[in-house]
Amino acid sequence: MTAAPEVLAELQGLRARVPHLTGAMVASTDGLVIAHLVAGMEPDGVAALTAAALGVGARLTDAVGHGGFRELLVSGEHGYVATYAAGPSCVLTLLATADANVGRLNLEARRAGARIAPLTGGPADRRERAPVPPPPPPSRAPLPSRPGHRPGNNNDNGASS
């Protein structure tokens, strides 16, 4: 992606404006990192997980008839992970500490998402962000199994072994 330096500059601006921001990343909706400012973790893994969460989020808003995906906010014990639509093919994911000002995070991220959209090839966005289209219905792929857990033996509850 040739737009990466501009996107990265946008992320740096975001980090300067929003206190409590611990990481920021722009990724494509299929989980490829375009630019990131995260330290201490693997950005590829976070992008891949974001893509998975995004798929579920988009399907959920579609299922209840609320249109395309806009934002996803996950609150953990020690902080927030928030994902915002940035055009039809990209998302902006932000990591913030638990004492973050979520109102401010939302405002800044929505604006940044709208600015990032044209940089990544999306439509130059007016007030509305172009929603991410809902993904195709899920193929019945098995969930990845935990290490040490034998796949294909779903009904064992420990008694049979």
């Binding site: 000002n101 979520v102 109102g103 401010r104 939302n106 405002l107």
Partner: protein, 124 residues
Amino acid sequence: MTNTETALKDAMGSIEGALGVALVDYGSGMALGTLGGSQTLDLNVAAAGNTDVVRAKLRTMEMLNIQDAIEDILITLGGQYHLIRLLTGRGGSGLFLYLVLDSRRANLAMARHQLKRIETELEV
């Protein structure tokens, strides 16, 4: 005892010169309710920004070792007054009322008195 919606309506209706009012959670920076405002006065932006104001003051007091609580904060602009009043009642901690007044029409003493009454009656 009044609920959020009634309190906001009360503030807009009974306080002379009121341009907008919001009930804000300064834990998250998000507004629990807003009333009034305009194209140029986005109360959700105000909620997020004034959360930083309240947090900064609380932090400053902590650094100065002041064992006290903020009752209200007044910000005087050229043409507006901004009043921030922290909620004290049960269930109200971590919240503040934010009121924007047109300074040409408002009576500051009366507005402050009215806002105090609304805050005491408010139950979230």
